[in-house]
């Protein structure tokens, strides 16, 4: 069953098309990830799905409710963890959760029990009466995740859940996300620009760039589409070599980048000697060569032609307008 469906969802800010005719669906119970560089349109999509922004065009439903016409029903069904912390730092952890529960109309008994439950889920029981301003970054994130779950949402949106956290804390957050997906059978929609995060957490991934979805598939399928192994090689005569290699049938795909070549192949370790032979007959010298299992980095590179890091430098040049509160 599809719990989120979008149909040509579009958002324009003046001349800038932030989200461009995006159509996808998310199944009940899965962890779905939007992977893309900063400024690709991930947050804007989330803001539309969570009723914070009106779409310019197209439509979407959450649990069968229209995001424009049935906003209250949509709001009742979703939990959100925003990219920037949205906690009241003058209140304690428990008070923040209690505020949330009351805003969602939960009764006294239900409130109390649920606060205990979610605090337990994110291991913050011993810090519940500490003012949030004294929390660390990781604790704030955990509290926000707990808050997102308070009102038993059918879908939880996580916008860059581990942005700015250290490696250890990220691991811990990932475990919490997995746990709540399993224990509470909450469908999770997350955005990230970390490959390893998408790889570790998501059942299915949509790669988004410049407001458009380039591909949607399961992580396994995406990696398989690249080949079982990825060989990266650099060589002074890239063009000559790649022309020769294009004729070889055992190469599933081949791409030239600025200074290197990536090849998707089966049984990569047996192919390296063959590559050297081919290079030898052409008189080309291979400067370096490496073999590894494909990662989502390769997938991203394959579909966008660039590394996600290059992309980010690109996008910071044209800062996008923020939907709420931002400078105007």
């Amino acid at each position: 069953m599809d719990i989120i469906t979008t149909d040509n969802l579009t958002k324009k800010f003046n001349d800038l098309v932030a989200v461009d005719r995006v159509s996808f669906s998310v199944k009940k119970g899965e962890i779905f990830g939007f992977l893309g560089p900063n400024g690709a349109g991930k947050t804007t999509t989330i803001k539309m799905l969570t009723t914070l922004l009106y779409p310019t065009d197209g439509s979407a439903t959450i649990s069968g409710f229209d995001i424009v016409k049935e906003r209250d029903e949509v709001r009742q069904n979703i939990g959100i963890v925003f990219q920037e912390p949205a906690l009241d730092t003058q209140l304690t952890g428990r008070e923040n959760l209690d505020f949330h529960a009351r805003m969602y109309g939960m009764s006294r008994d239900k409130r109390k029990n649920r606060v205990d439950d979610v605090l337990h889920l994110v291991d913050l029981e011993d810090k519940e009466d500490v003012l949030v301003k004294n929390y660390s970054g990781g604790m704030k994130r955990r509290l926000e995740i707990a808050r997102g779950l308070m009102h038993y949402p059918t879908i939880l949106f996580l916008d860059e859940p581990t942005l700015g956290l250290d490696a250890q804390t990220r691991r811990a957050i990932w475990e919490y996300i997995k746990k709540m997906n399993k224990d509470e059978s909450t469908t999770i929609f997350l955005t990230t620009h970390y490959m390893d995060e998408a790889d570790y957490l998501c059942d299915r991934i949509g790669i988004i760039d410049h407001g458009k979805i380039l591909v949607i598939d399961s992580t396994a399928n995406l990696k398989n589409s690249i080949g079982n192994d990825v060989i990266t090689l650099s060589c002074p005569d890239l063009n000559k070599l790649s022309r020769a290699l294009e004729k070889e049938e055992w190469i599933k795909n081949i791409k030239i980048h600025d200074s290197f070549l990536t090849l998707g192949v089966e049984k990569g370790e047996e192919k390296i000697p063959i590559l050297f032979e081919i290079a030898n007959t052409l008189g080309a010298k291979i400067k370096s060569i490496s073999l590894r299992k494909p990662t989502l980095d390769d997938v991203f590179l394959h579909f966008t032609g660039r590394l996600i890091r290059d992309q980010e430098q690109d996008n910071t040049m044209k800062e996008r307008p923020r939907a709420l509160g931002g400078g105007r």
């Binding site: 979703i78 805003m103 969602y104 109309g105």
Partner: protein
């Protein structure tokens, strides 16, 4: 309106109270400034007679209602700042994605702000009475409280209007000071203007156009029963209209700025 909406209004109000109680510097700042005016100015110039003042009155009696109004007006700054704070620190989004009508959000916030304004107003009022400011009558005191409530809601509405239009704290504070100071000085709160024949007619006309003048005049008429220009009932009607208009503007701008 559903029960859930009331619960949401209540918790938004509760949050303002908790934040206020926890912010020690805010309590000190909001009470200290008017208190300073009242005690230093009021006691220091107690024996002074100003042109336009009722002969049977001393200056402290003249000043006290003005300072009560000032305390309430200035606390509207804090309502505005708390709106800006939520905007800046993202908490606003948490409120906006809740399944609660925009109206309830505005009501909750307004009630919170108005309650805090009133608390500050009452602190000053009690201190003034303690310093020896006479109370005209019991009904006068009741009327004083009604004026204070109206004043509080007007001030919060004003804070909402300005905060909705601004995005940063410094700008907000500058604008508020720029607006509040002339309003206060031209309101007869600190010294008589409307009844002082020594002022050029143009200034006295300006005073009559100043909404704060009617608030202060109403408070004065009902609390001390001297030094006022219009009957409290007239002031009441004027202030009521201003209050409704300001609340309307405040909610309009607030809802506009947030969705």
């Amino acid at each position: 309106m559903r029960g859930a909406e009331f619960q949401a209004i209540y918790v938004m109000w509760l949050r303002e109270m908790k934040r206020f109680v926890r912010s020690k510097s805010r309590i000190v700042a909001t009470v200290a400034q008017p208190l300073f005016f009242l005690v230093v100015l009021g006691s220091g110039l107690r024996a002074a007679v100003m042109p336009g003042m009722d002969v049977s009155s001393d200056y402290l009696t003249y000043l006290a209602p003005g300072i009560v109004a000032m305390a309430i007006l200035f606390s509207s700054m804090f309502t505005g700042i708390s709106v800006l704070w939520d905007k800046q620190f993202g908490f606003l989004q948490e409120v906006l994605v809740a399944p609660i009508s925009r109206l309830s959000i505005i009501i909750g916030r307004t009630l919170g702000g108005a309650t805090l304004s009133l608390i500050q107003g009452f602190i000053i009022l009690v201190i003034a009475i303690f310093l020896g400011v006479p109370i005209a009558s019991a009904s006068g005191l009741l009327f004083t409280i009604i004026f204070m409530v109206l004043l509080a809601f007007t001030a919060v509405g004003f804070g909402l209007v300005i905060a909705s239009k601004m995005n940063d704290f410094q700008g907000f504070q500058i604008i508020m000071n720029l607006l509040l100071m002339p309003l206060l000085f031209l309101s007869s709160a600190l010294f008589p203007i409307a009844t002082n024949q020594g002022f050029p007619p143009i200034i006295r006309t300006l005073v009559i156009l100043n909404p704060v003048f009617f608030m202060v005049d109403g408070l004065r008429g009902s609390l001390t029963g001297i030094n006022y220009s219009f009957p409290p009932l007239v002031d009441f009607l004027v202030v009521l209209v201003i209050c409704v208009a300001m609340m309307g503007l405040g909610s309009y701008f607030f809802s506009k700025s947030e969705t």
